[in-house]
């Protein structure tokens, strides 16, 4: 295959965790009885009017600021018109040519390398209601026996984030999405719960000859409700486009539906469903005038965000950039690590234990940092035991496993299972003597000047003591016995 490169852009929708809806006082909830949080406004009864939720604007502005966007001092809402039963007014109040915030960027990491993606815009809108189709096939309205509408979700504040087409690969797209989700969660404006659809995304993708700067015709991919599906869909769509182009064909500007079952993309919308949304300024709302002082107030009270934290970790704890990324990109992991250090563990070994044993434990148990079966305090104690020489590194790992199994303090585990390091010379001398006696050939070689054999002999002593011997002391005792 000759050289083609993909160009990917993402469009994300995030439901905000505000107390009330975007344009009325109904509570934003999950899991309550259908249509239990509705009012004339979110049911679009005749005469009802929208009023902007200021907290939603604050949350959206926080996202915009974290993405280095300019929050516009004046922005306006538009009506986006289309008929569908989940849209009670038959228009969505959204933003169009004067959005809340524009022109920012987001730095993210792929394999330890920092990539920058420009952000086109961040804007506010309202979510649609939830449709449930009964009977028929595949939960779609066509062919169903009847449909039900739950308006509880209708009117939930929704932020749309649109990137520029700056993403170079499917893997990068997945990384960006994951890291951007982390960012939003850390801002405290949305839990971005994926099962509940609190964060949703579409991808735009085109290909072009490698090194060229133009953009090819793009397709829009939908129905990728996991990070993995996003990557899979792009992995399927990019070769499809290349194949079409190499065969002399052209790419149609269309919306494609990703089928996780087959791993393929198929056209979703036929032409007759193409929408003319007839956007026009929402006359029921006045332009949103945003005081720059208010924006600066938000900026000053933003929480520490991953990029800044990674930077801080390299300086404050002397971590490598790669380690700082692993520990610093998510608030939960960073919080746990900093607790371990605060409990007295040295920064570097604390980092190694957190990224090593602890992260492996989280992955195995499917838990989030801070919710594992070892507290930061206990891990700090273990790190100190190892560093202080009470427990050897290899025994330390066993201690860690037993701490989980027995939900116990490290000291208790060491005590109970006799995993303390042997630093008692007489006890070790016996083992040393036995190893020297049992390995005459190696002893001969060492004495003949082949110093590296010492390592083998140390290993034999360690093995004989179940890894508990203090390696430093074994070293000294062996040298004394062999050289003496």
């Amino acid at each position: 295959m000759s050289a083609w490169e993909p160009v990917i852009g993402l469009e994300m929708h995030v439901e905000l965790d505000t107390r009330t809806k975007m344009f009325c006082g109904c509570a934003v909830t999950k899991g309550d009885d259908p249509n239990s949080h509705t009012c004339p406004v979110c049911l679009a009864h005749p005469g009802a009017l929208p009023v902007v939720n200021q907290r939603a604007i604050e949350y959206a502005a926080r996202i915009a600021l974290a993405l280095h966007c300019t929050v516009q001092p004046r922005n306006i809402f538009h009506r986006k018109n289309y008929f569908y039963p989940d849209l009670p007014k038959a228009y969505q109040i959204s933003q169009y040519d004067e959005p809340l915030a524009t022109e920012g960027w987001f730095d993210y990491w792929v394999d330890g390398e920092t990539l920058r993606c420009r952000i086109n815009r961040v804007h506010m809108e309202e979510d649609a209601a939830k449709l449930i189709h009964a009977g028929g096939d595949a939960g779609r309205i066509a062919g169903s026996d009847y449909s039900m509408v739950d308006f509880n979700r209708g009117g939930t504040p929704l932020v749309e984030i649109v990137t520029e087409p700056d993403i170079p690969s499917p893997e990068a797209a997945r990384e960006l999405l994951q890291q951007l989700r982390n960012l939003v969660v850390e801002l405290g404006v949305s839990e971005c719960n994926m099962e509940e659809g609190q964060i949703r995304w579409d991808a735009n993708v085109s290909v072009r000859p490698e090194g060229s700067t133009g953009l090819g015709t793009r397709t829009e991919l939908k129905n990728m409700n996991s990070f993995r599906y996003l990557q899979q869909a792009l992995d399927a769509e990019i070769p499809r486009q290349i194949e079409v182009l190499e065969a002399g064909g052209t790419i149609a500007l269309e919306t494609l539906h990703f089928d996780p079952g087959t791993g393929t993309t198929t056209p979703l919308r036929s032409k007759e469903e193409a929408h003319d949304y007839r956007y026009f300024p929402e006359p029921d709302l006045v332009p949103l005038v945003i005081d720059p002082v208010w924006v600066e107030g938000l900026r000053a009270t933003q929480p520490e965000l991953p990029a800044a934290r990674v930077q801080r970790f390299t300086g404050q704890y002397g971590l490598s950039r790669a380690d700082a990324v692993v520990l610093g990109s998510s608030a939960s992991m960073a919080g746990f690590y900093e607790e371990v250090v605060a409990a007295g563990a040295a920064a570097k070994p604390a980092a190694n234990w957190t990224m090593g044993e602890y992260l492996a434990h989280l992955n195995a148990a499917g838990l989030e940092a801070g919710h594992g079966h070892v507290t930061a305090e206990r891990l700090a104690k273990l790190v100190k035991l190892v560093e202080g020489g009470t427990v050897s590194t290899s025994s330390g790992k066993e201690v860690f496993a037993l701490m989980i199994e027995e939900r116990a303090e490290p000291e208790a585990v060491v005590e109970k299972h006799g995993l303390g390091q042997i630093s008692d010379a007489p006890e070790l001398e016996t083992a040393v003597a036995r190893v020297i006696a049992g390995n005459p050939a190696q002893v001969e070689q060492y004495r003949g000047g082949k110093q590296q054999v010492l390592g083998f002999l140390v290993g034999q002593v360690m093995k004989a003591t179940g890894g508990r011997a203090n390696p430093q002391l074994v070293n000294e005792l062996l040298r004394a016995a062999l050289d003496g």
């Binding site: 004339p40 049911l43 009864h45 005469g47 009023v51 309205i141 007839r278 956007y279 026009f280």
Partner: protein, 493 residues
């Protein structure tokens, strides 16, 4: 017993009689219900008369008069049927809302209810307030009490006819392009459109959101101010509502010394019928007799106001009326085969022809490729119209215009030609486009039919308008009792 004359009684007098104990609220309500019984078969001003409500609340006011000594307590009112009223059907004179029962009450209505006015019923209108004759109602055609063969104007024709015919002491209407002032003029009563935002639109079923405004229809300027006092105010449920910079005062002016009134040359050049022009000129002369100074001014973009309005209003309406889709409330077609069929038939069967025409015009004007040429340009014109007024108000205090180019016309005479109907609003539309307050007061008769005199002021100049109208009203001395003639039955001489 009361001997009250509902064709001449004002709220000012009725209130004094109530407070003095000369009449009870129940007697007052009965006066109007009796008049409804007598003339409603001919006038057809109401879509629904709320007899029980009127009886119940007027009795309650009498029983608790001391406690309910509200400034409007016991004064009977009619409400245009495009303001939602909890527990009383609200139809917008449309089949699509024929049996719609609102779950809340419009803010402006709530305000007068809280002041213990007694609601007599919901009045007829052009469907969704789209029209100038009330002939676009899906249910009935309202007659003008001055000549039952003619239209009462519209779209608040039901409210105007009810007040004129003595079927209500006063009424609330809504004005998008003249829908309060034009029927008030044709029915010989007072009608006012306040500054855009002065009265909450929450609960007013939207026609064109950036133009709609609720206002009073009354028998006198004093009554107009009294009712306006109780409906203005910032409403947290309407983001476009504002607090007036000064409270509405009850007018008492008798002179207009030093008041500068502008007469725009453009309007008088364009198709005002001679009888209307004569009454207008006489009224201008009265302004000067009262000490005012009338000067000719120019509003150069006048000719573009009407076409701009008939782009902007339908465009907004096309979105505002999209919610009537048969999904949640209102009319739904029988046995739809699928979603599209339900949408198409529900709306096709539910809306009348004028509403459909405007939805189509509006949809077209907002469509991709046409937006700039239509909606975009109309908004530019709107800005130019607004600037015309700003420039004019640098030199004058108020602007005077006839309210309508003609007096009330024969029912059915314009229904075949929508443009001839649209032209009715030529003198009233500019105030809506610019968001300005304007009043129409009766200034005499032409061929036995009332002529309206319109005053337009800068934003928030309600008090100046009311004082001026009050002084003129006194000088004109118009008798608001209509003749109830029927020119169809008269033998031509």
């Amino acid at each position: 017993m009361s001997g009250l004359d509902p064709l001449r009684l004002t709220a000012k007098v009725a209130k004094r009689l109530l407070v003095d104990g000369e009449v009870s609220a129940a007697e007052l309500a009965k006066t109007y219900l009796d008049q409804i019984a007598a003339v409603e078969p001919r006038v057809k001003a109401y879509i629904r008369v709320t007899y029980d409500n009127a009886a119940k609340y007027s009795t309650k006011v009498d029983r608790e008069m001391q406690a309910l000594r509200g400034p409007l307590a016991g004064l009977p009112i009619a409400i245009k049927d495009n303001m939602v009223t909890e527990g009383v059907t609200t139809t917008c004179a449309s089949r699509i809302l024929r049996d719609y029962m609102p779950v809340y009450t419009a803010t402006a209505v709530r305000q007068v209810w809280d002041d213990h006015v007694v609601m007599l019923g919901k009045t007829n209108l052009d469907e969704f307030a789209m029209g100038s004759s009330t002939e676009n109602s899906s249910f009935q055609t309202t007659a003008n009490p001055w000549d039952l063969a003619t239209v009462p104007g519209g779209s608040s024709g039901g409210s105007a006819a009810a007040v004129a015919a003595g079927e209500a002491l006063w009424a609330l209407g809504s004005d998008t392009g003249g829908s309060i002032r034009q029927p008030a003029a044709l029915c010989g009563i007072v009608g006012m459109k306040p500054t855009y935002g002065a009265v909450s639109r929450y609960g007013l079923i939207a026609f064109a959101s950036s133009l709609d405004q609720i206002g009073p229809l009354t028998r006198s300027v004093y009554d107009c101010a009294l009712l306006l006092q109780h409906i203005v105010g910032r409403d947290p449920r309407d983001a476009t509502s504002v607090a007036l910079p000064e409270p509405v005062k009850l007018p008492d002016a008798e002179r207009l010394d030093g008041l500068r009134v502008g007469i725009p040359a453009e309007y008088l050049a364009a198709g005002i019928e001679p009888g209307v022009r004569a009454r207008f000129d006489e009224t201008v002369a009265r302004v000067e007799e009262l000490g005012g100074i009338c000067v000719e001014i120019s509003l150069p973009h006048t000719e573009y106001a009407l076409p701009a309005y008939y782009i902007i209003a339908p465009a907004e309406a096309s979105a505002n009326l999209a919610r009537f889709d048969g999904v949640r409330y209102g009319y739904r077609c029988e046995d739809p085969v699928d979603l599209l069929d339900m949408y198409e038939r529900t709306r096709g069967e539910g809306f009348g022809p004028e509403v459909k025409r405007r939805i189509m015009i509006g949809t077209y004007a907002l469509s991709a490729g046409y937006y700039d040429a239509y909606y975009g340009r109309a908004q530019v014109v709107r800005t130019l119209v607004r600037r015309d007024f700003e420039r004019a108000f640098a030199g004058v205090d108020l602007i005077a215009l006839p309210t309508t180019p003609t007096v009330a016309f024969r029912a059915g005479s314009r229904t075949a030609d929508p443009l001839s109907m649209y032209v009715c609003d030529i003198c009233t539309i500019p105030a809506n486009l610019a968001g300005l307050p304007a009043i129409s007061i009766p200034c005499g008769l032409s061929d036995g039919l009332p002529v309206g005199f319109q005053l337009i002021g800068p934003a928030f100049s309600e008090n100046r308008i009311l004082q001026t109208a009050h002084a003129l009203e006194g000088a004109i001395g118009f008798d608001t009792a209509p003749a109830f003639r029927d020119s169809r039955l008269e033998v031509r001489q």
